[in-house]
């Protein structure tokens, strides 16, 4: 924010510092441990009176001097240059906080150079005692350098009480200073042994070679054991939040942790092999291998330590974007473009929107990400998101994704950056323009004068979501629909028929018709479909069924029913991949694979392997789903709680969050909520609450059942909703839903438009099971299917959702509305038999 950003493109993402730092750190640890190696080896030669060992020491010193002074010394300065170029603000902070520590280290550096040059150039020219003194001075100064730099490095990870007192000594002797010092000291000794192997395997005289190789083994193995002990101490010295971050919450750390853990026994084994195996053909490659393993060992540790600081450069003080934690609220308020120094576009206009987005990208993304490089490449991440998905991701950085700093800017800047990342930086995954093929559907004719029967049909769900398991390879679809039908014998005292009648259904699909009988159940006939029917190739968000009632072999009445099914599942907004069908709907295998990869990464599952083998991954096999009768695995969240609970953490907080995943976007392939309430301007959140509130209600029930992960998600969601978390009532998905009578108290016009947090107590109270007050008619027989209540306004067809009212009344309103009782009763009625208000005039008129 204070400094310009070096735009490195492919070379960004920490590549430069990773290369320079790991080389330097490896050699600089050698420079410390190797110093002790030199003097102790010289002492060994003197003690044993071995001129060969002394000669070896001298040769090793030459190697040591050239490597540590040329490559070690210069890359040390190189690190300084590099961090100042990549993170000038943090470097400036470190330099200003620890200027005199750096200056002290410089003095030790000077003494190191002088003593090492003298040590090398005075072999055979000084008395052994004086020569050894020079060696000890070198080692003392080198270790003192390590002591000093260790304080600064670990300050960045654990600044401790410096954060409050700003005292030099608090920062220097920070909480991990001592364990890190021991850790690095043992690492230095170990590395001295590894480099010792490199020179000792080349000793020409066989006996001396074996002797010195074993001697080097002593430098490797005991320090390795002590190093592991100090590593455990290091771990326990980390603050609990950092431990949680490094060892549990950050999946990116896992490979490095695993590498560090597995390399310990591997290095031990190779070290033992060096001592035992004598052929040169084995030892020389093994020495190189050990050197490489040591490099990886130290490298993995440094990656863990560096990663542990994320999203900070200096933990809890300065974010990786070089914005101080204390400055963040102000930046979020005034905007980054208005606060940063190195920007051209201080205000966002329609003309400079992309340019401003690029500047935000430079300031906020490039400090950590490369663009097309081998490390932290942002391009594949950006390609994965839609603009809305990216905006959600940006908005939830920090709490939901603790690896990333909270977004430093205004909501407008968030949107601009999201647009730039997904449409400017990369070719985005914007949707094809939805093409709606409108159709006119003729209802089945009905002669009010002569008709004896009515057939009223509905489905139990109006917005069935299908993940199309056969195509996508992943199954988290809703339960297949249950069709219901009631046959009414018209008359002044109409009756509902269930005996001596057969009711059949026929659903036309591209794969042929689905035909079946409906079974009597109470006052209705029911058919539980075995699977969700396949949507048509030319997508429309419904299928049409024809229901027929047969008596004595004759069709006595029939009707048509719309079954709302959509495959428009918005996973690709964040998980990437194309739509499966027509560029506008359907879960593709690419998207499914990305979902499973993340699931595997976060939940340690191996679903991707199943997927790759061609198996369909059924989410309900682990996560319970009462609508499908899936018990799931005990201890795991049910599917609704897991889905909503997890994603609510990541999705942008607004009323349109539902459309990220569900098919209710006006611009989407399915179109907006078609039912009466949608036409009246109500949104999903009116009944279900915002995504966070909805998720909290589901998670609370799971928390009661002590389900794993519920409490952690509830903490993350605590301040994301609009209703106080404590006030939200838990509910079981599919069994407890928003109740119509919350708004329509006593079946009267509503005095509120919010049904959230008032659930039906029992499954039988669900709209889908509820009857009129006389206990005969299903609510859905007259009002239609939930989410598809009459009158509907479906963009594909004005008639599709209103086929029965159109058939029987020639209008789209609920059956019998506007005193249309004659449709069943054949005469006008005076009493409100079905529910209070049923003789009222329908208020929501359609044009």
């Amino acid at each position: 924010m204070n400094y310009p950003v070096w735009q490195l493109d492919a070379f960004g993402g920490g590549l430069l510092i990773a290369i320079i730092a790991i080389i330097h750190v490896y050699i600089s640890h050698f420079a410390v441990g190797g110093g002790l190696f030199l003097v102790l080896t010289e002492m060994k030669g003197l003690r044993e009176g071995s001129s060969e060992i002394l000669a070896y020491t001298r040769r090793h010193t030459k190697f040591f001097l050239l490597l540590t002074m040329v490559l070690g010394g210069m890359t040390g300065v190189g690190i300084w240059f590099t961090i100042a170029l990549l993170s000038p603000a943090a470097t400036s902070s470190l330099i200003h906080i620890f200027v005199f520590a750096f200056a002290i280290e410089w003095v030790f550096f000077l003494a190191e150079i002088v003593s090492l040059l003298f040590y090398y150039y005075t072999f055979d020219r000084l008395s052994p005692r004086k020569h050894l003194i020079l060696g000890w001075i070198y080692f003392g100064c080198a270790w003192a350098s390590l002591f000093t730099i260790n304080g600064i490095i670990d300050f960045m990870l654990t600044p401790g009480s410096w954060l409050t007192d700003n005292n030099f000594w608090s920062g220097f002797f920070n909480p991990t200073f001592w364990p890190a010092l021991f850790f690095r000291t043992f690492m230095a000794l170990m590395i001295a042994g590894l480099f010792g192997f490199m020179t000792s395997v080349n000793i020409k005289e066989t006996t001396l070679r074996h002797k010195m190789v074993r001697y080097c083994g002593l430098w490797l193995l005991p320090p390795l054991v002590l190093l592991l002990g100090s590593a455990l101490w290091y771990k326990t010295a980390l603050p609990p939040a950092l431990q949680e971050m490094i060892f549990n919450r950050a999946p990116e750390m896992k490979p490095f942790l695993a590498l560090f853990i597995w390399l310990s026994p591997l290095i031990t084994a190779c070290g033992l092999a060096m001592a035992v195996l004598r052929p040169q053909g084995v030892r020389r490659p093994l020495a190189w291998l050990l050197l490489l393993l040591g490099f990886l060992y130290l490298g993995s540790f440094e990656f863990i330590r560096e990663g542990g600081r994320r999203p900070y450069l200096i933990h809890d003080y300065m974010y990786s974007t070089s914005i101080k934690k204390t400055d963040l609220p102000q930046v979020q308020k005034t905007g980054l473009l208005a606060s940063a120094r190195w920007v051209k576009n201080r205000k966002i206009t329609p003309e400079n929107r992309m340019d401003a987005g690029k500047e935000l990208f430079t300031l906020l993304c490039l400090p950590c990400h490369s663009a097309g490089g081998p490390l932290n490449d942002i391009l594949p991440l950006a390609r994965r998101f839609s603009p809305a998905g990216m905006r959600s991701f940006l908005a939830t950085m920090g709490p939901a994704n603790p690896y990333m700093p909270p977004f430093a800017g205004t909501e407008e800047e968030q949107a601009v950056l999201a647009d730039y990342l997904t449409t400017g930086l990369v070719q985005g995954i914007s949707d094809n323009k939805t093409h709606i093929r409108k159709e006119t559907i003729a209802p089945i004719p009905f002669n009010e004068e002569t008709a004896e029967y009515l057939l009223l049909a509905s489905a139990d769900k109006g917005m069935i979501l299908s993940s199309e398991p056969e195509q996508s390879g992943i199954d988290f679809s809703f339960a297949p629909p249950t069709l219901r039908a009631q046959v009414i014998l018209r008359g002044t005292a109409p009756s509902v028929l269930t005996e001596d009648i057969q009711v059949t259904y026929r659903i036309d699909t591209d794969n042929g018709p689905l035909i079946g009988n409906m079974i009597p159940s109470g006052t209705a006939f029911e058919a539980n479909l075995a699977a969700i029917p396949t949507v048509s190739k030319d997508f429309r968000p419904y299928l049409l069924a024809k229901i027929e009632a047969v008596k004595d072999g004759n069709i006595i009445t029939s009707t048509r029913l719309k079954i709302g099914i959509s495959t428009e599942i918005g996973c690709r907004n964040c998980h990437g991949g194309p739509w499966r069908q027509q560029g506008r709907t359907g879960l593709s295998r690419e998207t499914a694979a990305a979902i499973l990869a993340i699931h595997d990464k976060r939940s340690k599952t191996q679903l991707s392997q199943e997927f790759a083998r061609g198996q369909i991954v059924v989410c309900q096999s682990c996560h319970a789903d009462s609508s499908r009768g899936a018990a799931g695995q005990s201890g795991l969240l049910n599917l609704s709680a897991a889905m909503h609970g997890f994603h609510a953490v990541y999705l942008y907080k607004d009323n349109n969050s539902c459309a990220f995943c569900h098919a209710n976007s006006a611009e989407g392939a399915t179109g907006k909520l078609e039912d009466l309430h949608g036409t009246l301007g109500l949104e999903c959140t009116s009944c279900h609450g915002t995504l966070a509130d909805h998720a909290i209600s589901l998670l609370k029930e799971e928390q009661q059942a002590q389900k794993s992960g519920s409490s952690k998600l509830l903490i993350l969601l605590a301040d994301k909703g609009e209703v106080a978390s404590a006030a939200i009532k838990g509910r079981k998905p599919w069994d407890m839903e928003p109740d119509c009578l919350t708004c329509h108290k006593g079946f009267q016009p509503p005095d509120t438009s919010t049904a959230f947090n008032s659930w039906n107590a029992d499954k039988k109270d669900l709209f889908v099971h509820r009857h009129s007050e006389d206990g005969v008619l299903l609510c859905s027989s007259c009002h239609g299917t939930q989410h598809s209540l009459y009158p509907t306004d479906n963009p594909y067809s004005k008639e599709a959702g209103n086929l029965q009212p159109l058939q029987y009344q020639n209008n789209p309103y609920p059956l019998g509305t506007n005193r249309g009782c004659a449709v069943c009763h054949t005469v006008a009625m005076e009493d409100e038999l079905h529910h209070p208000g049923s003789l009222g005039t329908f208020r929501a008129r359609m044009e």
Binding site: N2, P4, M69, V70, L110, I137, N166
Partner: protein
Amino acid sequence: MIPAQLVPTPDLLQVPWGWFQLLLSTTFLLHLLVMNIMLGWAIIAFCNHAFKQTIPAENQLISQKLPFTIAFTVNFGVAPLLFLQILYGHFIYTSSVLMAVFWLSVIAFLILAYSAAYIYNLQFTRLSGLHTLVSGIIALLLLIITFLFTNNMSLMVSPESWVRYFDHPQGMLLSFTDSTLLPRFLHSVFASVAVGGLSLGLYLDWQRRHGNQAASARIPSAMNWFVYATIGNFGVGTWYFGGLPAAIRTVTGVAGAFLLGFLLAGITAAILSLIYGRQHRVRHASWATLAAITCMTGVRELVRRQTLAPWFSTSDLEVAPQYSPMILFLLIFAAGLYLVWWMIKLVLPADKEVRS
């Protein structure tokens, strides 16, 4: 774009800026001396290989000591760069980012030059016809590094040129818009050759005083490098000073008095060093040169302060006092210098000792 808007906010100091200025100027002087010897020797060695029929004995000496000069130039460079970052970090971090590719390449060039210096050292007798090439590579790399340092020192005091970043954010900017860049660079190069020659003269003088009469005959050659390079530097120095903005050359008040005082004293010392150099009075010339370099270091610092005056003054820096770290540093610094001196004393009679 207003350049002042681009100047970052500096961080707090732990002790008043004067302490850091003192440490900066002192350690920079040390760095400058060793750096001049390093670069000067590299150029002289190359010229001797390239233009002389036989390899002078000085080249053998240079080959033995050049790696040390690189090591100490880098080491003595660390301290002033550290203190420079304390006082002017918000300028030099910025300019470094603007020329980041070149600035970071300094490290690569340094490693190459250092490696080549060790090849020149350890393989001197085996290089045969490759002496010119190797010494030429060393000299070229060190000249490039010098040029890049000159660029950064120029760019850091030119916030008005920073706006070019918006068109070239890849770290590929250099300070070619600064008319003093070339004379400033050449001033360093000529000074290096002069000090390189003078240091060779000093070494030969020391050899002569310790009974090596052959060394006496080689002193004039070494001092010629010093004399001619110094004469050349008068011209380059005038070019450099003339290229400075008039507002700096004609600055008045206390700053103006100090600038004029340092400049005149430096020129006087340089003239004296030239006279002594022509007379081959090496030690006198050395003292005079040390005085000239000290004064010119002061001039350089004053010019930087005046150039930055529209944007910043070190006295603007805020202080959150913490003295104990500095006290510890000064104690360790003193102990470190004593330790180095003690080691030198330990080692000096080394030739007389025989390993048992």
